[in-house]
Amino acid sequence: MRLTIEEVKHIAHLARLELSEDELQRFTEQLSEILDYAARLQELDTSHILPTSSVLPPRSMLRPDEVLPPLSPEEILRNAAASAQGQFKVPPVLE
């Protein structure tokens, strides 16, 4: 399955990746090969097999609705590149 350069550009944009012309060429080749490889799986007839959503026994893992102490704002903001007024600070976003 051959991807176009435009499709690769679109996927790169969704992942917020900036690719050079050279990388676009290279990744178009590589991604196409990966898709070709995955396409081989589709040669198998799986129409009579139910999708496997989990291999574990059908049992829900649930949590009781009980509050535990949170992190302090100082701790969480230690990871921030910039902060102000107890909040993360980022450049303005255009709607």
């Binding site: 959503s53 509050v67 992190l71 980022v90």
Partner: protein
Amino acid sequence: MTDYEAVIGLETHIQLNTLTKIFCACKADSWNAAPNTNICPVCSGLPGVLPVLNEKAVEKAMLLAAAMHAQIQSLSFFDRKNYFYPDLPKGYQISMYEAPLATGGYLDLPLPQNEARRVRIAKLHLEEDAGKTKNAGGKRLIDFNRCGVPLVEMVTSPDLRSAEEAAQYLTRLRQLLRWLGVSEADMEKGHLRCDANVSIRPRGAAYLNPKTEIKNVNSIDAVREAVQKEIERQAREMEAGHTIESWTLEWDEDSGKLKKMRSKETEADYRYFHEPDLLPLHISEEWKKSILTALPELPLERRQRFVTQYGLPEYDADILTAERSLSDYYEQTVKAYGGDPKKVSNWLMNDVLRMLNEKGMTADQLRLLPAHLAEIIRLIDEGVINNATGKSLLEKVQASGETPAAIVAREGLAKVSDDAAIRSICQEVIAENPAEVENYRNGKATLMGWFVGQVMRKMRGKADPNLARAILEELLAQ
């Protein structure tokens, strides 16, 4: 001009009132909390953490699904909805996409003349909320407190036919959410959020025209107004021969106007895939059954029953079932009283509701119990006290928690129907007010009310006003 009908679908996000968030043990409600004070590694998207689903969030969503007559699925699972936005620390929102919690469902809106509008539910699933961002001085500040708050997304089919119906749907939904106790449903606080999809077509047509989406409407009145304005705008455009473009519009509360939002650069491409960190959600028949037994009689069913069982006008039934504890209060009072249910309705709608509004309480918080109210009405029926005394007893019982009969006995509030006692007070009033007597005799008949008032005042409200009036009329005619 062509006769148009509106085609409206509503997309709602309902904040469930669980104690904790959907996938972590942080406090869910951050109203008035300082920014970033209800967060943990899970909801702020730190690497290496695992989400664990909140049991109560599932149960509340199940209860809502059952009340909407939707089919709760025995197997559902969460997906990742991938997009980048600063309020979304993980870079994806955990939501249900391929296998939602419930399918189908509807809400029947009562219309005039005993008709109903069936509003079908196209989508009902659980998801997590995102954080909040705000612009400040050329920068954007982000508060993650709201990240991971449990939401039910519920989307209707395009079944609503006017701005009024859209408003009514939201009113009924809000009533239902509070009734079930699954959400505080306060639109101003964002517990219930609504986007409206609006298009119009010639009345009776079966096709759908392009629609616009109205965002950021955060009160029921605003939804009514925004949708109405958009219907009118589309009708003008069509009459002018223009086609409707699928814009996204934003409601500006201050100016009361719809503004076109800037369209996103790329079409939404969320690349959904199963959330690998969560197991599928299995809902056993047993669990479902235990939730369904907790499902109370629903507000619209109770409203209908009040009309048929108690012979109430629809207007009364509507008000009395607006809120669950009020409707319980009504039924308990009717039962304790045993007399005319309409009379009880009048007391509730006129006096008890005013009291609740003034005190900002719900009926179940009153010290004036249904048995007390029933006793007051009975005391009036039996002629022990008059109506005005009955009304004053409401506040006295509420203040003291004593029974009405005890207050009547202690304060000597029983009605004086003794002809002689009232007659002598009437004579006093006439003797003390010669000027009014003369005016009355010269034809100013409206003064009678004033005379009765004087007598009632002297007798501290205990006189039978009808008897006082009759005696006064007799004495003044002489």
